[in-house]
C-alpha cells in the first residue's frame, strides 16, 4: 500500500497543478495584476478584509486572485495568514466622529448638520448593463468637496441631546476588549465579543437574518439613523512615548440603526440602537450587522427570545463562513468506515423488520 500512498500524493499534486492552470486561464490574455484587483474590484477586496479581519488591501487582493474570485476561499486564505501574525499591541478605539466622510446618509432627518452625502453609491443607479465598460472608456474625474476634513456630528448625538436614545453601551472600567480569535468562546457573550463575531460574520447570513427581523421574526422597528463611510485614524498608545501615535488610516463603514422601544420593567421608553462597523465600504454588511446586533440585545431589554436572529448561540455559532464552509464541505471526505457501520445496522434492522411482518401476515 506504500505505492498507494505515493499515488495519493501524486493525485493531489496533479489536482493542484490543474487548479493553477485553471486559475491562470488563457495564457494569451495578460495576467491580472494585484493592483488592478485593489483598484477595480475594491468591494471584493473590502469584503475579504472585513470577514478575514485583516486590513491589508494588497494581501486581500492576492487572496482574491489566488482563490479565482471565490471570496469565502479568499477570506479563508487571509485568515490563515492572519493567525500567524504576532500581536504588538491594541490600538486606541477608532473615533468615527472624526471620520473623513466620503458618504453619509440618514433616513431619520431630512437635513442635518454636515448634510447628506451620497458618495460612491450604487443607490439610484439604474441597473442596466453598461456597454462602455466593455472597453476602457475614459472616466471623468469626480467633483470634489471643499470641506472634506471637517468632522461631522453623529445622528445619535442629535437624539441623545433630548435623552431620546440610549447612551453608548458601558462596560466595566476594568473590562479589556475581548478577542475571540485568541480566547475560547463562552456563552452568553459580552457585546464586544458578539460585535467582533458579527463583524467577521458572513455577509449573506447576516443579511438573511437581518431581513428576517424585518419580516416579523424578532421585529425591531429599525430606522437608519446614520450610515457613514470614510477614513479614520488608527492610533496606538506607546507607553514609552506617553502619547498615542498614528499608524495610518483605514476605510470603514459604520451603521447606527435606531430602533423604537416601548420600554419595559427594566427601562423607560426610548430609542435603542443596533451597531454595525465593517472594514472598507460595505453598507449591506454594516446594516445587516446593526439589525442583528439589536436583535441579539433582546434579553438585555427584558424581551422574549422568540426568533432565530435573537438567539445568541444560534447566530454566533453559525455566522462564520470559514467554519461553516469547512464543516459542510468536510462531508465530501471519506466516511466509509461510519457508512459501513450504518450499512450493517440497516441490513440487520431490515432483516428483523421482515420477520415479524411476515409473521403478522401469516396470523391474519
Amino acid at each position: 500500500m506504500y505505492v498507494a500512498v505515493k499515488g495519493g500524493e501524486t493525485a493531489i499534486a496533479n489536482a493542484h497543478q490543474l487548479l493553477a492552470d485553471r486559475r491562470r486561464g488563457n495564457r494569451e490574455l495578460p495576467a491580472i495584476a494585484i493592483e488592478q484587483i485593489v483598484e477595480q474590484l475594491a468591494l471584493s477586496v473590502d469584503r475579504v478584509m472585513a470577514e478575514a479581519s485583516l486590513y491589508d488591501r494588497s494581501l486581500a487582493a492576492l487572496a482574491v486572485k489566488q482563490s479565482r474570485g471565490d471570496l469565502i476561499e479568499a477570506i479563508f486564505l487571509l485568515r490563515a495568514y492572519r493567525t500567524t501574525l504576532p500581536r504588538f499591541g491594541t490600538s486606541e478605539p477608532i473615533d468615527t466622529a472624526r471620520m473623513q466622510i466620503e458618504r453619509r446618509v440618514s433616513a431619520t432627518y431630512k437635513d442635518l448638520p454636515g448634510g447628506q452625502l451620497l458618495g460612491p453609491t450604487f443607490d439610484y443607479t439604474h441597473r442596466l448593463l453598461d456597454p462602455d465598460l466593455l472597453h476602457d472608456t475614459p472616466v471623468e474625474a469626480p467633483a470634489g468637496r471643499t470641506d472634506a476634513d471637517e468632522p461631522v456630528m453623529r445622528v445619535s448625538e442629535i437624539l441623545a441631546g433630548e435623552g431620546l436614545i440610549e447612551a453608548d453601551g458601558e462596560l466595566p472600567a476594568d473590562h479589556v476588549a475581548g478577542d475571540l480569535t485568541r480566547e475560547p468562546m463562552e456563552f452568553p457573550m459580552t457585546r464586544d465579543l458578539r460585535l467582533q463575531a458579527l463583524a467577521r460574520g458572513d455577509e449573506g447570513f447576516l443579511l438573511a437574518l437581518g431581513y428576517s427581523t424585518q419580516r416579523g421574526y424578532g421585529r425591531t422597528h429599525p430606522f437608519v439613523g446614520e450610515i457613514r463611510i470614510g477614513l479614520v485614524d488608527i492610533e496606538l498608545d506607546v507607553p514609552e512615548l506617553g502619547f498615542a501615535v498614528s499608524l495610518g488610516e483605514i476605510l470603514v463603514t459604520e451603521c447606527q440603526m435606531v430602533n423604537q422601544f416601548k420600554g419595559s420593567a427594566k427601562a423607560s421608553p426610548q430609542f435603542t440602537r443596533g451597531y454595525g462597523l465593517v472594514f472598507g465600504q460595505s453598507e449591506r454588511k454594516a446594516m445587516s450587522m446593526s439589525l442583528v446586533d439589536r436583535a441579539l440585545r433582546t434579553q438585555e431589554f427584558g424581551e422574549d427570545v422568540v426568533a432565530p436572529a435573537q438567539d445568541e448561540e444560534f447566530v454566533i455559532s453559525h455566522c462564520d463562513n470559514v467554519q461553516a464552509t469547512g464543516f459542510v464541505e468536510h462531508l465530501k471526505l471519506p466516511h466509509y468506515v461510519d457508512f459501513q457501520a450504518e450499512l450493517d445496522l440497516v441490513r440487520r434492522m431490515r432483516a428483523k423488520h421482515a420477520q415479524p411482518h411476515d409473521h403478522q401476515e401469516a396470523a391474519e
Partner: protein, 293 residues
C-alpha cells in the same frame, strides 16, 4: 506588499503552543472533560482535522515519528495531505507502520494493533459534545456535565431499543470516562470503543471548529453506555478480510462490479499489509476461483 513570513516549527507560534499545551495538561487531569481552547485558524478547512492538527503540532518534536490515518488508511487523500503538511512545516519523520509511530493522528479509526506506552493517539473530532444532538445549546450541555446529569442520553438510547429493538448508534457511540464524564469518542465505529478502555497509550482529542480539547489518560476506564438487558456489543463480520484473512477486525465493503459483487477488506491498511507480509492470505489472494463464485 507585506513580506509573507516564515512559519515556526510545526506551524503554530510558541504562544499558541503554550496555550494548547496548558489545555492538554488540564484535559489529562480531568479525563473526558472538554477543555475550551482558543482554537486557531489553520491553513486547512475546519472540519478537516484542524483540532487534531493543532494538538499534534503542539506535542510534536524532532524525535517523533508521525503516522496519519483517515478511515484506518494511510493512503486516503486527507491523511496524505495532513502528513505532507507536517513533513513540510516540521520536517518530521513519518511512517505508515503503527508500531513505529510515536504519534498517530487519526480520523474515524483506532488502529487494530494494540498501542503501547510510548505512543500518543490524536483524534480529529468534528462535534466533541456527546449531548449536542440531544440538546443543541452549549449553555445547557455544560450544565448537564457539571451536574453529571446524563439521563437524556440514556433516554435516547432506550428510545432506540423501544423503536428498533436495539441501540441504533453505530459510530460516535458515547462512553463514560473514569466513571465521571460522558464523552464522544469521535466518529469511530463502536467496534473501536473497547480499544479505548485501559489503553496503554495516551489518547488526545482535538476539535478545532468547536474549540475543545479532551483526553483519556493511559490505563483509564472507558465504558460504552448500555443497559443491563441490552449490553453494549460491537459489530461483527461474517467473513474474514478478503486480502489477509484477518478475523475480529473492522472491514470495509468494497464493491467489485455492478452485479452485486463485493469483498470485505481490513480498514486498517497497515495491519492488513503487515499480515500479508507475514504470509497470511485471504480468499481474494488465495483461491481466485473461490472468490469469483
Amino acid at each position: 506588499m507585506t513580506a509573507l513570513a516564515d512559519y515556526n516549527f510545526a506551524y503554530l507560534d510558541e504562544q499558541t503552543k503554550r496555550m494548547i499545551r496548558r489545555a492538554i495538561l488540564k484535559a489529562i487531569a480531568i479525563p473526558g472533560y472538554q477543555v475550551p481552547f482558543a482554537s486557531r485558524e489553520m491553513p486547512m478547512p475546519y472540519g478537516w482535522g484542524t483540532g487534531g492538527v493543532q494538538v499534534t503540532a503542539s506535542i510534536l518534536g524532532p524525535h517523533d515519528v508521525l503516522k496519519v490515518i483517515d478511515q484506518g488508511a494511510d493512503d486516503t487523500t486527507n491523511a496524505v495531505s495532513i502528513r505532507a503538511f507536517f513533513q513540510k512545516v516540521a520536517n518530521v519523520a513519518v511512517t505508515t507502520k503503527t508500531s513505529e509511530a510515536t504519534i498517530i493522528q487519526t480520523r474515524h479509526r483506532i488502529p487494530e494493533e494494540t498501542l503501547g506506552v510510548n505512543q500518543v493517539l490524536v483524534y480529529q473530532v468534528p462535534i466533541p459534545e456527546p449531548l449536542r444532538f440531544l440538546e443543541p445549546r452549549e449553555t445547557e450541555t455544560r450544565q448537564m456535565h457539571a451536574l453529571e446529569e446524563y439521563g437524556l442520553m440514556h433516554v435516547k438510547l432506550y428510545e432506540d431499543i423501544a423503536r428498533h429493538g436495539r441501540i441504533a448508534t453505530t459510530y460516535a457511540y458515547p462512553v463514560k470516562v473514569a466513571g465521571r464524564y460522558v464523552m464522544d469518542p469521535s466518529p469511530t465505529p463502536k467496534f473501536d470503543n473497547p480499544k479505548m478502555n485501559q489503553s496503554a497509550a495516551l489518547q488526545l482529542f482535538g476539535a478545532g471548529r468547536e474549540k475543545r480539547i479532551y483526553a483519556v489518560p493511559p490505563y483509564t476506564d472507558v465504558v460504552s453506555l448500555d443497559f443491563e438487558d441490552h449490553p453494549f456489543e460491537v459489530q461483527t463480520f461474517e467473513k474474514p478480510c478478503a486480502l489477509c484473512g484477518a478475523r475480529h477486525v473492522y472491514l470495509d465493503e468494497v464493491v467489485l462490479d455492478d452485479k452485486g459483487g463485493r469483498m470485505f477488506v481490513c480498514s486498517d491498511t497497515d495491519f492488513c499489509e503487515t499480515r500479508r507480509e507475514e504470509g497470511h492470505r485471504g480468499e481474494m489472494l488465495g483461491d481466485i476461483k473461490e472468490a469469483a463464485e
